[in-house]
Subunit: 249 residues, 2 copies
């Protein structure tokens, strides 16, 4: 059942040096150590390693990774992994966009057509356009939200996740009852939602409205909310549009 360091290296593609490094900094401690110092890893370590490698692919610094994977609660872990799963999809889309930009550049050059500088760098710059979506789903957003997340202790982390679930669920019920987006009940939930989002990022009027629109437009967001009932994402969008009027600039 226990795998030695070479077996783990073969299985996962990381080098044994890296595994030793992760042990040295306390990021991944072997399940047990042989009497001669040899390292042996078990299933729990493999799962942890997978999560570590996912975050490494997302270019999260190792010390931040450490505080993320150290959350020992199972539901918490899988919730975070869902978040990182979405981030992987975002990176997939990013490379698709880059490939498209490069393809456009090649055909333009070969045909001798001119090209604007903006077009040439579409997809490269991850801060310049689509502000809300990039804010929430871009690479640096993941980094920042991970850092914010890492600053919480475990109880706070659990509470934060539970809060979002509670909001979405309550919204789902109101959506099923065909509630008015401007009603007090719905607006109270939006206020909680805004506070919830603000852990990672405090959106102003325009940004929050944009975020609401993204919720309803983007398939990934919509699925997250509509699993509590169809129309939940749309209700949230419309409610946010009302709520956002009270926010500054």
């Amino acid at each position: 059942m226990d795998l030695d360091i070479a077996a783990v290296a073969r299985l996962t593609g990381v080098t044994s040096r890296t595994l030793r490094h992760y042990d040295a900094i306390g990021l991944l401690t072997p399940a047990r150590t042989g009497h001669d110092g040899r390292r042996f890893y078990g299933d729990a370590q493999l799962l942890r390693l997978q999560h570590i490698l996912v975050l490494r692919e997302l270019e999260v610094p190792l010390d931040t990774i450490a505080s993320i994977v150290d959350t020992d609660d199972a539901t918490l872990t899988s919730a975070l992994m869902r978040d990182h799963h979405v981030a992987l999809l975002a990176r997939r889309d990013r490379f698709a966009a880059l490939a498209e930009t490069v393809e456009r550049t090649i055909t333009r050059i070969e045909k001798g057509l001119p090209m604007t500088a903006d077009d040439m760098f579409e997809g490269f710059d991850h801060t310049a356009y689509e502000p809300e979506a990039r804010e929430r789903w871009g690479d640096d957003a993941v980094a920042r939200s991970n850092a914010a997340w890492a600053s919480l202790d475990k109880a706070d982390q659990r509470a934060h996740l539970a809060e979002h679930e509670a909001i979405a669920e309550a919204l789902g019920r109101l959506a099923a009852a065909d509630a008015d987006p401007a009603s007090d009940e719905v607006q109270a939930l939006v206020a909680r939602h805004h506070a919830w989002v603000s852990l990672f990022w405090t959106p102003g009027r325009e940004a929050y409205t944009g975020l609401g629109a993204t919720y309803a437009d983007d398939a990934r967001f919509r699925a997250t909310y509509d699993k509590h009932g169809d129309g939940t994402a749309v209700l949230l969008r419309d409610a946010i549009a009302v709520y956002a009027q009270s926010l500054h600039d």
Copy 2:
């Protein structure tokens, strides 16, 4: 027309520090320098920068990038960019695979189902499986082939690209004539093809056969060959299957 360093930074998303670094190591020299030392960039530099950034996304070291983007011939450059475009698609697919693996892991954990260690790391390890495809399209393969490429001088680089075009074109004509894969004419072209491939990687019998299969199965490869006429990729695959019998293990 000329952009100062801040404008380029905004446009492309790189920092001005990075641009200064690229100037310092001779990777990207500004079009002109103001009398006070300020840097100004033109269209040619932007195109070069795009290529640099693509290669950086592919994790190619800067000195290798330098020797790649220094090929001054236009057709050569666009041929290389095509190659790197494919590499971007490969990375896109890689992240898609990672996301899928993570998704599988999450649902398995939440349902309490067991999971084999192999399944958990599908897509992470880029050396363990699909040897031929990974050899040709994986990240490290791009790195190695770029390094091999960089070791050639410009005349050799141009000759190498022309050779592949010539082979593919001749194959296309024979495919249109419904030639026999085992015929001398076709086999002579396969011999040239094997020699051509061997600049970056010398495949044995099994690997070369696998490469041929990939040519016909993978849409990206197929398109590359079939632009010289439908059925070119299939002819090449079948001809390789014959040719490969003469290769060692």
